[in-house]
């Protein structure tokens, strides 16, 4: 069950991620690691981290990660169209890349839009923020967990900040 927000935090501005960063303080960060069981293609583990237990439903989280994995699989798909692109690029001595975007880049843009959308609709209202893996070298999905600064006696955010400090998060404590 999502934490019950106080009135001022649940204003439409909370969907603005800049507002979220200003009005809340960073409690901790969770890093979803890569899953190499299918080889070197970019996939992330769908294992639900315990730190998010009280913040978001397991199913929503898994769905997000699975969709992201699907996008990455699409980007790295080896098939007719990728061969065509590769051969065409080779034939032009790769000069074509000066004016054309690769398939991979197009999918990365789609991923970026998807993450933005997910942040606005699902994660920001729960005090979470997803960072695009491309900004972390495709190594991890970084999920920042924010404390509700203006929450009054909201038990969920209290417990999450408690669990955040007990797991020794290098984030919040040193930040301020």
């Amino acid at each position: 069950m999502p934490p019950s927000p106080c009135a001022s935090c649940m204003s439409p501005q909370v969907h603005n991620l800049q507002e979220l960063r200003r009005s809340a303080s960073l409690a901790t960060k969770v890093f979803i690691q890569r899953d190499y069981s299918d080889g070197t293609i970019c996939q992330f583990q769908t294992k639900f981290p315990p730190e998010l237990d009280s913040r978001i439903e397991r199913q929503l989280f898994e769905e997000t990660v699975k969709t992201l994995n699907g996008f990455y699989a699409e980007a790295e798909k080896i098939g007719g169209s990728s061969y065509l692109e590769g051969c065409l690029a080779c034939a032009t001595a790769y000069f074509i890349f000066l004016c054309m975007e690769t398939h991979y880049e197009k999918v990365l843009k789609k991923i970026s839009r998807y993450i933005q959308e997910q942040n606005e609709k699902i994660f920001a209202p729960r005090g979470l923020l997803l960072t695009d893996p491309v900004e972390r070298g495709m190594r991890v999905i970084e999920i920042s967990i924010y404390e509700d600064r203006c929450s009054s006696g909201s038990s969920s955010s209290g417990s999450s900040s408690g669990s955040g400090s007990s797991s020794g998060g290098g984030g919040g404590a040193g930040a301020r």
């Binding site: 070197t40 790295e76 061969y83 080779c90 001595a93 790769y94 398939h103 990365l108 190594r139 290098g170």
Partner: protein
């Protein structure tokens, strides 16, 4: 009241990237620090081809066919384009972990292995993964503070972890990795063809002209021919051999690094889990597969300090999305910790067949 316009110098991320790379054209070009041998490569190719076009081509175009210089020009342009692509592009560098991520991984490791008393060398950090029913070990990189993906390796010359690391090639002045391997392969392939072409037509030229004016007269008239033949002869043996070796690697979907270390050979070792088992499929994947873009974001602009009016900050670890960047923990300051048993993979491997094309200078 006059308004003072202060032009702030924009700091781009490439200026603060760790590692021993050189950047040019405001971050668009990325190379290793030592570029001397790369300049030699350029000089040899440009010099030989200039001589060929200036002397032999003029005679052969008239005597045989104008197609000869045309094909030579195409081969020359293609090999130059692929050489520059190999040398100037990001080989697939994995950016180092930011402090938060590094701390998180440290915590996970300690949770698994237990804390190590101060002063004692920690055991090598390895994670085991199963890929296609075979166990592959992931090693922890002490410099980059990450668990290296499979097939990645840390290049000691450039001081970066590179994905699908093949080798560090001083002749192109860059590492060869996931993102530029195909350019490298096409470069050595087209250079082999160009060398054979120039060599062959030099012989044809000398033969044709000798019939008319004699062998010694021919050499006196175009002394450049001797030089070209010599350069082509020595290049042939090395580059063609190298092309053959890399064709073998591509067909088996292996890297030079793996071949040198014998990762997939020997009866007690696992089989290569990345090979599709089919030569054509392997070639297609390595040479025509999807090309991931660089994750380094060299030309991104570093954000200013939160206080706003201060000049661009010198953030050591690149930009972070959030305004607060937490202080690194105690554990992370042990950068001096040597990479255990990483020397074999870090030392750029020499080329086995033929003359040592890719033996690099000693790192010290």
């Amino acid at each position: 009241m006059s308004v003072m316009v202060v032009r702030k110098k924009v700091t781009r991320k490439w200026e603060k990237l760790p590692g021993r790379n050189t950047f040019c054209c405001d971050g668009r070009v990325m190379m290793a620090r030592q570029k001397g041998i790369f300049y030699l490569t350029l000089f040899l190719i440009l010099g030989t081809c200039t001589l060929f076009f200036a002397f032999e081509c003029r005679y052969l175009a008239v005597q045989l066919s104008p197609a000869i210089p045309v094909f030579a020009a195409l081969l020359f342009l293609f090999s130059m384009a692929t050489l520059l692509r190999t040398s100037f592009s990001d080989p697939g560098v994995i950016p180092r972990a930011l402090p938060d991520e590094a701390a998180f991984i440290e915590m996970e490791i300690e949770a698994t292995n237990g804390a190590v008393p101060q002063g004692q060398r920690p055991p090598p950090r390895i994670k085991n993964f199963q890929i296609n029913n075979q166990i592959v070990k992931l090693k922890y990189c002490y410099t980059c503070k990450i668990f290296r993906p499979p097939r990645a390796s840390h290049c000691s010359i450039c001081d970066n972890c590179v994905e699908r690391f093949d080798h560090h090639c001083p002749w192109v002045g860059n590492c060869v990795g996931k993102r530029n391997y195909r350019y490298f392969y096409l470069f050595i392939l087209s250079l082999s063809l160009l060398t054979i072409y120039v060599f062959a037509f030099n012989i044809v030229y000398v033969a044709l002209k000798s019939l008319k004016i004699g062998f010694l007269e021919t050499l006196k008239e175009t002394p450049g021919t001797v030089l070209e033949v010599l350069i082509c002869f020595f290049t042939l043996w090395s580059v063609v051999g190298l092309t053959g070796f890399h064709t073998f690697l591509v067909a088996l979907n292996q890297t030079t690094n793996e071949d040198i270390k014998g990762s997939w050979t020997g009866k007690n070792r696992v089989q290569n889990p990345y090979s599709h088992g089919n030569i054509v499929k392997n070639c297609c994947e390595v040479l025509c597969g999807p090309l991931p873009p660089s994750v380094l974001d060299r030309r991104g602009i570093l954000p200013l300090e939160e206080s706003g009016s201060r000049p661009p900050s010198t953030q050591e670890t690149g930009s972070s999305l959030l305004p607060q960047s937490p202080a690194p923990t105690e554990h992370l300051n042990s950068n001096e910790m040597p990479e255990d048993s990483n020397t074999p993979e870090e030392m750029p491997p020499p080329e086995p067949p033929g003359p040592p094309q890719e033996v690099t200078e000693a790192e010290k």
